[in-house]
Amino acid sequence: MQITTPNFKENAARALDDAPLQKALKNVEIGFIAKRLAAADALPEFEALRDNARDIKNLTLAHLDLYLEEYEKKVVASGGHVHFAETAQDARAIILDICRKRNAKTVTKGKSMITEEIELNDFLARNGIEPVETDLGEYIIQLRGETPSHIIAPAVHLNKDQVEADFRRVHTHLPPERDLSEHEALLNEARQVLRQRYFEAYVGITGANFLIAETGSSVIVTNEGNGDLTQTLGKCHVVVASLEKLVPTLNDCAQILRLLARSATGQDMSVYTTFSTGPKRTEDPDGPEEYHVVLLDNGRTSMLGTEFQEMLRCIRCGACMNHCPVYHAVGGHAYGAVYPGPMGAVLTPSLSGIEVAGHLPNASTFCGRCESVCPMRIPLPKMMRHWREREFEKHLQPSAARYGLKFWAFFAKRPKLYRAAVSLAMPLLSAFGGSKRRISSLPLAGGWTKHRELPAPEGKTFLQAWAEKQAKESGR
């Protein structure tokens, strides 16, 4: 996709003024948060499972080379093929080659963020192969020529009437007078249109939520069943997955599965959790004749051994963005990259460079909700701070921010001066607050006060209160 991350500020301003988007984004706040909380509360072991899941992934990453070797052995032993891809370009070439050998005219696709990352659809289309997205949300955005705005709910930025308009525009073979006013009718129409496509496709492409070293299995977790039809009805099943999807054993997978659906949609388990191992067996009446796994690096190996290694624990549940006030305000497209929200703010600079993605780790209030709900206990705010430091070291921030910090540092390094300045500034700011005790415009800080109000300082400064407390205690 076209990375528009450098335009984050413009993207965000546009998103804030986009009334249909703002309406759709309310569904994120209303839908996901309460469901996750209820599911987590209903399982007393939830917090302990988070610890286990973190430890399992840490252990896997520390031995990633060896688990990759074991996994590869098992896939080959079950009759499958493993392809290592260093870059997105390599992965695309491998997949195209598989499709060409099968003479595929169309490929069906289960929902996969990795294929978004490698921009597979455009590439296949340019090479004369039609990619057909079969997940309802992915299908809708494919019709619109858009990218997903959320990693598990790709069309969360849209409202029902927009989907209806798209279906009427594209499904011209259906009677124009049909009733599409209800959600059910839209879903049924997509089901009918897509059903035939599964049978036509020679190759079915899915992602993977997990790869299991013990058995050589790939795992997809879905609610619709489209991923299963994609991989069962095609002659050839291609799995595209990044290296860090690996877990050692089925039992390790079970620990993390208990967190995934609960953190994502608030379900105890998603409707379909499917383990696929090799191609169909000789006596099997259905299933794919070939099974390929494309293992993608694309920058992951250079995150190992750095302060960003912990990001490789991410299981793409979407909880961080579901709970993020910045995501709630601007939606996923404003981030201008494949992965939005807090996990994207950490991952995108790793994949595309901090020079391009510098705005993203700054698009955070550091409220800490993302870390508090992350099932894998990834310290997202800490890693955003690491990126801010790197950005500062590389002199990538605007000069106003650097001078502002220098100005502040001048005072901060001189405590007496700092206290004097603060004791002058605070009453002044307090006076700005008026009777509402909110500051809605401030000289030199228009960028801050344009979209939000600053609470006026109340009472004493911290240092004054601290000094008084100390004096009181020593006087006792």
Binding site: N27, L43, L49, I56, H63, L64, D65, L66, L68, E70, E72, H83, F84, A85, D135, L136, G137, I140, A153, A155, V156, N159, K160, H183, L187, R191, L194, R195, F199, E214, T215, S217, N223, E224, G225, N226, D228, T232, L233, L243, P248, T249, L250, N251, A254, Q255, Q267, M269, T273, F275, T277, K280, R281, D284, P285, D286, T301, L304, G305, T306
Partner: protein
Amino acid sequence: MSARDNILGRVRRSLGVSGDDALRRAAVANRLSEATPGLIPARGQLPREERIALFGKYASKYGATIARVAAIEDLPQEVVRYLKSRNLPASIRMGNDPLLQAAGFEREPVLSVLQGASDGTDLAGVSHARGAVAESGTLVLASGPDNPVTINFLPEHHIVAVRADDVGGSLEEAFAGIAATYGKGEMPRTVNFVTGPSRSGDIEQKIIMGAHGPRALHIVIIG
């Protein structure tokens, strides 16, 4: 150098480790051979009848309907009753599963039974689940000639028989059962863990049943 060698080399360099380190190799080999279960929630470790009740509770929560019959010979009658109650034609698709073959569907003369994989035209399919997971109301279905995968996804109505004795507590029990049948570290081509009928929340986060898979899931507990 192949892409594989480059990637493995980069992993080792970044981690500052060697692929020849015997201690690391032993750690990985142990983890894979022992495959120790982790934390199993208390609700996944209940005695038999409570376990079956919990399985039913969660399967219903996720939109499945449940019936319980005394023996496998009662399955055909229950299938006919279900089809009638949903105004469906008396026709089912199923595989060669020995338990289903032993049910005696031929005793229901009105019922036509189609054998083998589904081609997408069947309204109702019948499968035998090799197990179930009580903690989440989940069925465990293994692919093969006995239970073709297409039957799990293409028919509008999926009727699944599971023996009461096979309803386990946890995911770990289900994996142990698969290892007992196929061998440690071995799997059939496809194992489907199914929790309720197909659904989508992709339009305005409103959950609608019957996305691409079955619109309805009917579970018949045997015994």
